[in-house]
Amino acid sequence: MNRKIADRIATITFVGLSMIIVAILLYLFAYIIMNGFSKISWDFLTSPSSNILAGSGIRDQLFNSFYILILTLIISVPLGVLGGIYMAQYAKPGKLTNFIRSCIEMLSSLPSIVIGMFGLLVFVNTTGWGYTIFGGALTIAIFNIPVMVRTCEDAIRSVPRELKEASLALGITQWHTVKTVLLPSAFPGILTGVILSAGRIFGEAAALLYTAGLSTPRLDYTNWNPFADNSPLNIFRPAETLAVHIWSINTQGLIPDVTEKAAGASAVLVISVLIFNLLARWIGSMYYKKMTATK
């Protein structure tokens, strides 16, 4: 019974391979939780960082990460939604549409360091802005716009054709149909996509190193004037994000408690990404329930 033995061996091998994957996953999570969670404290989240002293926090980095995330979404979501509408409703099959598809595929799959170099060239050097939050957000938007276009196209395409026909047959224009019937129905799908992409933006580092920079000026959180140099809201100031911070303290930092700080920051980063993912899943399943429940 040779082939039975071969079958056994194969099964054992596959189980073994899966065990290795599971072991790696468990180890990664365990490492982050064991080493990171204990380092997270209110103090850690709310005190400023330091390049040389121990016991510093990640307040500014956390703020910068969220600020860049929000700016990027403000830039890329409207453009992505419009592009998605175009691809799903207006684009006619042909060479131009295929070309646009290739562009979308390319921009969304280029390494982020390459996108970062383009950002450095255009938004830092050519414009003369130097390292800025705005330049960083624009750079990340370059790969997030195509991701959003794809998400929105899929979401709009998944709206039943009957709904679109119903609206058109009632003497409603295509544009009004898109605005009042297709977009509202596609909204949960779009939202899920936005949240998932937010996770990627939040953890992005390579594209930000040389566009938003590796430093943050001393910030005064009581200064709400977006044009002041020390205002956290100023979009033309350099800003080190959380992900960039983890890289920089590990490779160039002089603080004595590097590992501790990096572990804490990593845990914050991973938890944020986890929250984004779970939120997206939750919205997806809520929507699914709503759409399948007829009563």
């Binding site: 982020s112 360091i113 370059i142 544009w175 580092a205 040389y210 980063l269």
Partner: protein, 306 residues
């Protein structure tokens, strides 16, 4: 019902200017986004190409020497710019990490779809999809604080090495390879497997002779996507590989890749200097390689439809 006293030609021929304007406005607004995407793609390719060719055109570096030279010494009095070691480093970590991630990922996918689908779908899959989203700096950090000391103490060398880079990348691309392979195997028609079982084939025979050949283009796509990601990854590798421009003598020796050299130096060199320009040339190589990966993936997905 309808008041048809008004002439039909007044009612039914195109005349309503407001409505036509709003249709036109909608058309223009959505097209603008498509135009932006095209512009960005072309601008990115053109700008990075021009910038990347500067060192050959303006600074007169021989492109062949640049690619094949093994001596990288930009700051000496007679600077030399041979980037072969970095190109080699990039390919080495990419190939080696794919060599580790491919069997693991595809094996895991087979386990999840063919051996224990319940387990796979309910538990493993969501967790693996979650791992795709973990930022690369976190992989780099764990590599730096766990893997590097482990290799230093148990394998030898400094710990910062080709091997560390390979392992970090392999773990990083593992979720990508696994989840795409799982999708590929799930997408196979059910009757394929049932047909093979009906002929009396064992599970292993079915997997080997029927399922893997049928899903091969998609499985290869999964591996190439993983390789593309590994080739372009910068920070995670940079944190563990050592970043030494010498040719690595063994797998435990320090090395460098295209991305790590760019990451390390592009902020420190003067914009427009020869050294800076050569970094943009390395970036151009990276861009070209990314194009090649995209083309390979396209080729594979066109095969898949047949």
């Amino acid at each position: 019902m309808r008041n048809t006293t008004e002439l039909s030609s007044h009612r039914l021929l195109k005349s309503n200017k407001n409505r036509k304007d709003s249709e036109l406005k909608g058309n223009i607004i959505v097209k603008s986004s498509a135009i932006i995407i095209i512009t960005l793609t072309i601008a990115l390719t053109v700008f990075l190409s021009i910038k990347g060719l500067q060192s050959f055109i303006k600074n007169g570096i021989n492109p062949w020497d640049f690619i094949t030279g093994t001596n990288w010494n930009p700051t000496s009095e007679t600077p030399s710019f041979g980037s072969f070691n970095f190109i080699f480093g990039s390919f080495a970590v990419t190939m080696l990490s794919a060599l580790i991630a491919a069997p693991l990922g595809i094996g895991g996918a087979i386990f999840m779809t063919q051996i224990a689908p319940k387990w796979g779908n309910k538990l493993l899959r969501p967790v693996i999809e979650l791992l795709v989203g973990i930022p690369s700096v976190v992989y780099g950090f764990i590599g730096l604080s766990v893997l590097v000391p482990f290799i230093r103490n148990h394998v030898g060398g400094l710990g910062f090495s080709l091997l560390s880079g390979t392992i970090v990348l392999a773990i990083m691309i593992l979720p990508t390879v696994t989840s795409i392979s799982t999708d590929a195997l799930n997408a196979l028609p059910k009757n394929l497997r049932e047909g093979a079982y009906a002929l009396g084939a064992t599970r292993w025979q079915t997997i080997k002779k029927v399922l893997i050949p049928a899903a091969l283009p998609s499985l290869l796509t999964a591996i190439v996507l993983g390789m593309a990601r590994a080739f372009g990854e910068a920070l995670a590798v940079q944190m563990v590989i050592g970043n030494v421009s010498d040719f690595p003598n063994s797998i435990t020796d320090t090395a460098a890749t295209l991305t790590t050299i760019i990451t390390l130096n592009i902020g420190h060199t003067t914009y427009g200097s020869i050294e800076n320009n050569t970094l943009w040339s390395l970036g151009l190589i990276l861009l070209v390689m990314s194009f090649i990966f995209i083309l390979i993936i396209r080729f594979l997905s066109s095969r898949r439809k047949i």
